[in-house]
Amino acid sequence: MLTDNALANLSGLILLVGFVYVGVLIVFWLVAKRYRAVIRRHPRQRAQKALQWGLQHDVQQESVIVAWMEGEPYGQRLLVYAWAAIQCATSLIDLERVVLSVVRHGRRSYDALALLLAASPVNIAPLCLRLLREADASLRTVALRVLARMVPVSEEFAPVLTELFVRGSETERAPALRALLQVYHGTPPLAILEAGLQDASWIIRAVTAGAAGSWQHPDVRVALARAMSDSNWWVRHNAARALGAMGTEGREALRQVASGPDSFARDAAVDVLRVWQLTVESGGRPPGGLVVVP
């Protein structure tokens, strides 16, 4: 058994530990709060000044404002300088230098950078092509985002995009597929569509199903009707919408699915057909999926 003296000492020790812990915690809290306020304030103030400076050059103000809105405080200042540099750049070498310096500052700036590049007065297609072949994944990501803003995509991109779709990382495959599908207009790329609809990733299957509605082709309709039995809701939903957008024949395919045995596919088909029916009945207004019992 502990003696009274030992108990008193232990009690004192416990209290001391408690006081020291809470004291250190409160000091840490106050310092951290102050530090957070400081690091939050400075870049934003500097970035606001940079924005004012950037907007004095009255070209493409909208691009800068959108970039500003989309960017994080750290990236905003950088983007304004990047915008000015992109506008002034007369060669692809200058543009590439800007891209290389901006992408180092993190993925949150990629979208805004892509927007600025797409608005550049220089033809940036060759730069995108080069960036897509880079080993650095961040450069490839920026190039893919620029391509997403370039419609239509030139045929020269097809090999590199196919390579990225087949062997790229999870984050690259969907945008590569989207861009790849933009390359083809008249004839549907049936092999790519087939591969996309059978991919292991549901995002790839959903992207393919969503894009497939652009081609009025019997084989595409068959592939989409098959995709309506997919295990993922988004794939079924996109396939149904794509079929719905394919005119009378697409809707006929939907009606067949709607009376088929697969209840999951039936739900998706009925949903799209109902929306189409109500759109027609209401003179083209979005119906909101309302069905009133008579």
């Binding site: 058994m1 502990l2 009274d4 108990l7 232990l10 009690s11 416990i14 209290l15 530990v17 408690g18 812990y21 809470v22 915690l25 409160i26 840490f28 809290w29 951290a32 709060k33 957070r36 989309e70 994080e72 993925r107 949150r108 979208d111 995002i203 959903a206 969503g210 809701w233 988004w234 209840s263 999951f264 039936r266 739900d267 949903d271 119906p287 909101g288 999926g289 309302l290 069905v291 009133v292 019992v293």
Partner: protein, 464 residues
């Protein structure tokens, strides 16, 4: 050495061992929370989700029983959430007040021929299904009174989207709460089957148009201690349990589940209370027994504001209900404890639930008896004092760390409110723990005697 002396030594040694284990576990959980909160949201910026076509669509399920006072504001707030594709399914669980009439008047409801979605759960069939002509995303299912779990099952049958979000009719979601949940889901969409959100106390906050515009701590002392208690539970507890995939409770006030998983496990149990814990235990059991790779996640950024009871009578009813729910679930799922097949749930979470959550009220009641004994002049060995002191100090250290961690991570409250919470933590163990422990024990007794009253929850309108 007498037999009493020996008995006292054994009890005191066991108490020290219990205290050491519990506090060690709490500090371990706290460290896990610090690590998890530091890493949160690093992968996917929220901005990317706002207009994304691939954010998973969600059906928000709102069971409502006698919620005429708050239901309009709650539904309006839900329909104004920032989320690309969602619907709100309100289930009027045979309310005896004007809940349905209020909804009909506010949202122009009309009866619709909507059928239950396929692969349904056995549930009470509805009397009528309505849809709003003002906002077609609102579905109202009117049914006979059958309890919260049963109402949620009916709502699941009428939900058309792959994710279902359960919230209480008297709760308010933060505008971006669903987006944060979606972010957690998308980060590992193949394995995530359920996600819990952070519950905060809305009493004292400034609310406008169904949104908490200024977070404040409550002025009511009972609500204030609950604010500190919730912070401790969620920041130091649930964040950490989710990190080891051992989260066994997703609050009924706010959680997201994969609809197909809810159907697979047969939905909620119609028995009350504790259905929110039971559904998570069912999911753990199903996934482990069917070898389904899964995770039950927690999103601390997704905030739901709820009204805390401000009177002892209402709080007591709530805590007795929680006590009954805990005991019922432990009794029904005790076979999972200490079995490696159930991994973190079997080896950590359920032993914690039994050894700490279930046992703690009895330790507290024993402590209360000692304090009463001291007041009437009984003499106790010094070791008792030491144990009480160590418990109090460690508890304060844990609580203060949770409050500071919350402030540094989420910056919800003003500094003066944080200071109030730190002061509140000082007096909580002196009275609040004892009172709630007594209620919990009463709940256990009620459960064993098959007494199961829900209790009356009084609601007030959301202040403007």
């Amino acid at each position: 050495m007498t037999i009493w002396h020996l008995g006292w030594m054994v009890i005191s040694d066991l108490s020290i061992a219990w205290l050491a284990c519990v506090d060690g576990l709490y500090f371990f959980l706290l460290l896990l929370s610090v690590g998890t909160l530091g890493r949160r949201g690093a992968l996917l910026p929220l901005e990317a989700l706002r207009g994304s076509a691939y954010v998973p669509p969600v059906s928000i399920l709102v069971p409502a029983f006698n919620e005429a006072v708050t239901i309009t504001a709650s539904v309006e707030a839900l329909l104004a959430l920032e989320y690309p594709v969602y619907e709100v399914v309100v289930v009027n669980d045979g309310s005896r007040d004007d809940t349905l009439a209020v909804l009909e008047a506010a949202f122009d409801l009309v009866p619709v021929g909507r059928q239950a979605v396929q692969r349904s759960i056995d549930a009470v069939p509805p009397r009528t299904v309505y849809q709003s002509t003002k906002d077609p995303r609102l579905i109202v299912v009117d049914k006979e009174n059958s309890g919260k779990g049963s109402s949620l099952n009916t709502a699941i049958n009428y939900a058309q989207y792959p994710l279902v979000c359960t919230i209480d009719a008297d709760s308010l979601l933060d505008g971006e709460a669903l987006l944060y949940m979606a972010r957690t889901y998308i980060e590992d969409s193949e394995r995530t089957v359920a996600i819990g959100g952070l519950i905060r106390i809305a009493n004292g906050c400034r609310i406008r148009d169904g949104r908490v515009v200024q977070a404040r701590v409550p002025t009511n002392p009972l609500a204030l201690v609950q604010t500190a208690e919730y912070l401790k539970t969620f920041i130091a507890g649930r964040v950490a349990w989710s990190a080891v995939n051992g989260l066994v409770i997703i609050s009924g006030a706010f959680g997201i589940f994969r609809r197909d998983m809810m159907v697979n496990v047969g939905g909620y149990s119609a028995e009350a209370p504790g259905e929110d814990m039971e559904i998570v235990l069912k999911i753990h059991r199903y996934c482990r027994e069917h070898h389904v790779p899964y995770r039950v996640a927690f999103s601390p950024d997704a905030v739901c504001w709820t009204q805390a009871p401000e009177t002892l009578a209402v709080l007591g009813a709530q805590r007795r209900r929680w006590g009954r729910g805990n005991l019922r679930n432990v009794r029904n799922y005790r076979f999972m404890a200490l079995r490696s097949r159930y991994r973190a749930v079997g080896l950590l979470a359920l032993p914690y639930l039994i050894g700490v959550e279930l046992f703690a009220p009895y330790v507290m009641v024993a402590g209360l008896l000692i304090v009463v004994g001291l007041l009437v002049g009984q003499h106790f060995p010094g070791l008792i004092w030491l144990l009480l002191l160590a418990g109090l100090v460690l508890d304060y250290m844990l609580g203060a760390t949770a409050v500071v961690l919350d402030d540094l991570t989420f910056r919800t409250f003003r500094p003066r409110d944080v200071a109030k919470l730190l002061l509140t933590l000082l007096h909580m163990p002196v009275w609040y723990y004892f009172v709630t422990a007594v209620w919990r024990v009463q709940g256990h007794i009620q459960m064993l005697r098959h007494v199961n009253p829900w209790g009356t929850m009084t609601r007030s309108t959301w202040g403007q």
